[in-house]
């Protein structure tokens, strides 16, 4: 993945004359780093792997940083979108397609054919690229590398280096600087280092499952799978504490933070998928589809994924619970009834408190809710030991892992960055985003405030909204933007040339203002205009 972004970046401008010397040197150095990895892929056996790996990763890092410096270093602080739509890479030109295809290819190899990049086959030792990463893996966790370790390392380097590029690009904007440092930190510490160190604690008698603490269910869709829960429980108090943290994360911590700050606290400050999208994916944010049609598709797809994962997770937990109350208090039936009661209360409460705001959305909500309840009933009657409905539990899991985990979040979500934009997964496929989005829409202080009548309908905000929100359609009417999909990246506000948009957490009153209250006009007239 890193591979292609780097490559494409170096060729960013179709007129090479526009590359500064600094950019050319950066490109050369970065390519050298990649070249080493590529040679490893063709099974060149490096004598001192640790050294070569270090040279390679450092060159990639130095290359991107030099390139970025060449790009922004000598410019006056400000918005840096010149030529975005004339560069081949960022406007779905030939380079964009090439990058997209190679990224997708990389993901396919990673998920389905890791042996091509050298993953050891039963008991042997790693070869190729994965072997190149062995020394680093041994330092961190004590174990040889896997394809996921290679991926994690490159992923982290991508967030770090392109994070620096992003900070450079927005060096006049502290909101962007701080949130970028935040995603860089969470990726490096929580997603990359801590799980590796946790693996170090493991011994023959004690084993923690791999756990990225900030990866919350349902994004972390295997959190409640039988083997995972079992290994948490087997790891004694620490394991149990982690499991409880996982449950609190989704039911307590997440709602509180989302209430206070909107879903951005997660999606553009903490999350790894979001982190990559905001840094390495920044050059592609303008490619998201802004049409109302796309919005419709988005809402159906993302909420279907959510319904699916709720049912699937319930089914998975159901499949490994027992029937005998004397063995364990939580049985299959208590669990199903518990889930049903929880969802009924939740849906009832939303309907009761928010029915005026929701109107048509409430109907869709009801449909989703009905599907889940019917599924639960079906679960009860059709599922026995180890199967969900009529399918084997393991089949359901692998189907989910394949469809959502691999195809959607990896191959399409990241592989198609240069074609569909950097947040397709977050927008269309992430069940976590769906949950946070509902919270944000219904119970949150967050909104994007529109500055009276200052909008000139230029369209910069909509163009650069990675979530495909037509920000302008609200701003030009003087409406605040309160949309479930908004990840609070703040780019709309940054690129607005008239200072119209501000991300804020504030009182509920006036948060949603569906009236055209464009200031500057005759006040009585505005009353008339708003009369329905």
């Amino acid at each position: 993945m890193k591979n292609n972004l780097e490559q494409s970046m170096s060729l960013a401008n179709p007129a090479p004359a526009n590359l500064s010397l600094m950019q050319k040197i950066g490109t050369l150095i970065g390519m050298t780093g990649l070249g080493i990895i590529l040679l490893a892929a063709f099974n060149v056996d490096f004598p001192n792997k640790g050294l070569w790996l270090a040279i390679s990763l450092l060159s990639i890092t130095a290359g991107v940083i030099m390139f970025s410096y060449g790009l922004y270093g000598n410019t006056v602080e400000g918005i840096k979108n010149n030529g975005v739509w004339s560069k081949s890479i960022s406007s779905r030109g030939l380079l964009g397609w090439l990058a997209g295809i190679s990224l997708t290819g990389f993901y396919i190899v990673l998920y389905f054919y890791p042996e091509y990049i050298g993953l050891a086959k039963d008991g042997g030792s790693n070869t190729g690229i994965i072997a190149l990463f062995d020394p680093l893996s041994r330092i961190l966790s004590g174990n040889p590398a896997s394809q996921w370790f290679v991926y994690g390392t490159l992923y982290t380097i991508a967030i770090l280096t392109f994070g620096i590029k992003f900070i450079w690009k927005y060096r006049h904007n502290r909101y962007h600087q701080i949130r970028t440092i935040s995603v860089m930190f969470f990726q490096t510490a929580f997603a990359f280092l801590i799980p590796e160190f946790m693996a170090r604690l493991n011994s023959d008698t004690f084993k923690l499952p791999y756990y990225d603490l900030k990866n919350v269910w349902p994004l972390n869709h295997y959190l409640f799978e039988g083997y995972n829960v079992k290994s948490f429980i087997n790891a004694g108090n620490i394991g149990l504490a982690l499991l409880i943290f996982g449950i609190l994360s989704i039911f307590v911590i997440t709602p509180i933070l989302t209430y206070k700050f909107g879903k951005r606290w997660y999606c553009s400050w903490v999350c790894g998928c979001g982190g990559l999208a905001e840094t390495a994916g920044d050059s592609f944010r303008q490619l998201s589809d802004k049409s109302i049609f796309a919005w419709k598709v988005e809402r159906w797809v993302i909420h279907s994924v959510l319904v699916f994962i709720v049912v699937a997770t319930t089914g998975i937990v159901h499949s490994y619970l027992g029937n005998d109350t004397s063995k364990y208090w939580l049985t299959k039936d208590t669990f199903l009834i518990g889930v049903a009661v929880f969802l009924a209360t939740l849906f009832g409460a939303i309907w009761y408190f928010k029915r005026h705001e929701l109107k048509k959305d409430a109907r869709y909500g009801a449909i989703g809710y009905l599907v889940i309840i019917l599924a639960l009933i079906a679960l009860h009657y059709t599922s026995g030991e180890q199967n969900i409905f009529i399918w084997k539990a393991s089949k359901v899991k692998s189907a989910y892992g394949f469809l959502i985990g691999s195809i959607f979040s990896g191959v399409v979500g990241t592989g198609f960055y240069p074609i569909l934009g950097n947040r397709v997964w977050c927008r269309m496929g992430c069940p976590m985003a769906a949950i946070l989005g509902m919270q944000q829409r219904l119970f949150s202080k967050f909104r994007i405030t529109t500055n009276g009548g200052q909008c000139i309908s230029c369209g910069n905000c909509s163009t650069y909204c990675e979530m495909g929100i037509d920000v302008r359609s609200y701003a030009q009417k003087g409406e605040n933007i309160v949309r479930s999909s908004c990840v609070g990246c703040g780019v709309c506000s940054a690129v607005c040339p008239r200072g119209v948009l501000k991300l804020e957490n504030g009182a509920q009153e006036g948060r949603i203002n569906p009236n055209e209250i464009l200031l500057g006009n005759d006040v009585n007239l505005m009353d008339l205009v708003n009369k329905k």
Binding site: N18, V76, E77, G78, I79, N81, N82, G83, V84, W85, S86, K87, H172, N173, R174, Y175, I178, S291, I292, T449, N451, G452, G453, Q454, I456, S457, C458, G459, N460, S462, T463, R472, S473, Q476, G490, S493, A494, V495, P497, R498, G499, K502, L503, E504, L518, L519, G520, N521, D522, V523, N524, L525, L528, V529
Partner: protein, 430 residues
């Protein structure tokens, strides 16, 4: 069904149409010779700079018009026959109307400079200007821009974004100083130069010279006689109403189409709004012709009411405006004059980085707050609108400035420093 015909698909005409549709079932037709669909003129620069594609400047998707039963006609109106309520088009076809709205906007000024119609010489107003500029760009080694206003500096930024060296001829002794007081104007002078734009103040154009193919090859400076070689000349010395096609009609015109406070012309059932309309008498401190986006929109909202049977006067609220000078954002609320009125006093604060400043204007006797210019700091429209209505005094405004701050979260705040500066000035003035 009554047929409302609107000439011009800019913000004024389109706003009128949208609001008429909200209020009624009348037949609506919008005529324009420029583009099929409404686009945001203010965003033209971003298309050239590659920030957006042209389609991104269109605020509504293409299906919008049909769905709302707003007919779009692409055609150039050459004459209006108000006796027969009929329009004549360039292709000699005609269209009849029951009510006519003239919203034809502006055109760039040309002051009769020798060579002003050569190839490579252009204004920056219509989509066609953008296409022309794009066509002339390859091979351009230098561009000269004549006229230091909002469009001039945008054009300078556009060309610079493509690495074309720009010489910027400004007649005034400091950039846009008819509107901006000295402090702000000088800040922008410095910022223009920081962007390596060759800013020439107090400099006039004498003539544009042609090469053997009739394309501009150089300009001559009035004051010094200097010849500057260039391949593009941008004429951005202001705009004026685009109403030549009305010269032979019975509609009364001056510089613009003359209208009363109900936006009615001298002819029954004919109205004019937006850039092309001229008030018989200026409203408050406003100019009789207001060529800005917001006023076009407001006139459109107002006129829709009148056309739909609820006769409404055009009563704009407190003045506001905004712009962006390269990387420095500017907003203004209320009135701040470049040369203070006799009743006006001003307070000015500039940040040490020389890229942020505010100027607050107030009444010298009552201390009533009259207006603010803010550069590099975003301010809330709502709050200033309220303070102006409530007639707050300057002390109140300075002490509550924080409430009006609209900068993104985590930005450095300067209210304390501003307050301190204000207090220290009071001491020295006392």
């Amino acid at each position: 069904m009554e047929h409302i015909v609107i000439i011009g698909n800019g913000i004024s005409g389109v706003t009128t149409a949208r609001h008429i549709r909200k209020l009624s079932d009348k037949k609506i037709t919008i005529v324009s010779a420029e583009t099929d669909y409404f686009f945001s003129r203010t965003a033209l620069m971003y298309v050239y700079m590659g920030h957006m594609k042209f389609e991104h400047t269109q605020p509504y998707e293409n299906w919008f018009w049909k769905k709302n039963r707003i007919n779009l006609k692409n055609g150039y109106v050459t004459a209006v026959d108000t006796d027969n309520k009929e329009l004549k088009f360039a292709d000699n076809s005609t269209m009849s109307y029951d009510k006519l709205v003239i919203a034809t906007g502006s055109k760039p000024n040309k002051f009769g400079w020798p060579g002003q119609d050569l190839d490579g010489v252009m204004g920056m107003y219509h989509r066609q200007d953008l296409e022309n500029l794009e066509k002339c760009t390859p091979g351009t080694k230098r561009a000269v821009i004549v006229g230091g206003g909002l469009i001039g500096i945008e054009l300078a930024e556009m060309l610079s974004s493509r690495n074309i060296p720009v010489t910027f001829l400004v007649r005034e002794s400091s950039f846009w100083n008819g509107v901006l007081p000295a402090g702000e104007s000088d800040m922008i002078n410095r910022h223009i130069r920081e962007h390596h734009i060759d800013l020439r103040l107090s400099t006039n154009l004498k003539e544009i010279q042609a090469d053997e193919n009739g394309r501009a090859k150089a300009v001559v400076i009035e004051e010094t006689g200097e010849v500057i070689e260039c391949q593009i000349v941008g004429l951005t010395a202001g705009v004026s109403p685009n109403i030549d096609f009305l010269k032979d009609s019975k509609i009364e015109i001056n510089r613009g189409v003359l209208v009363n406070r109900h936006l009615e012309t001298n002819i029954h059932d004919v109205y004019a709004i937006g850039d092309c309309a001229q008030q018989h008498e200026a409203i408050g401190l406003r100019r009789p012709i207001e060529a800005v986006w917001y006023t076009g929109r407001m006139m459109g909202e107002t006129l829709a009411q009148t056309i739909c049977g609820n006769k409404t006067e055009y009563k704009p609220g407190h003045w506001f405006n905004s712009a962006k000078f390269l990387d420095i954002e500017y907003q203004t609320y209320g009135w701040v004059f470049s040369k203070p009125m006799e009743y006006e006093k001003q307070f000015y604060w500039e940040h040490e980085d020389g890229k942020k400043c505010i100027r607050i204007s107030y009444h010298k006797d009552t201390k009533e707050f009259l207006g603010i210019n803010n550069f590099g700091i975003r301010m809330r429209h709502e709050i200033f609108d309220k303070w102006l209505t409530e007639k707050r005094d300057i002390d109140y405004v300075i002490n509550h400035l924080k409430e009006a701050n609209f900068d993104p979260e985590f930005f450095k705040q300067h209210e304390a420093e501003i307050l301190q500066h204000y207090n220290s000035q009071l001491v020295t003035n006392a």
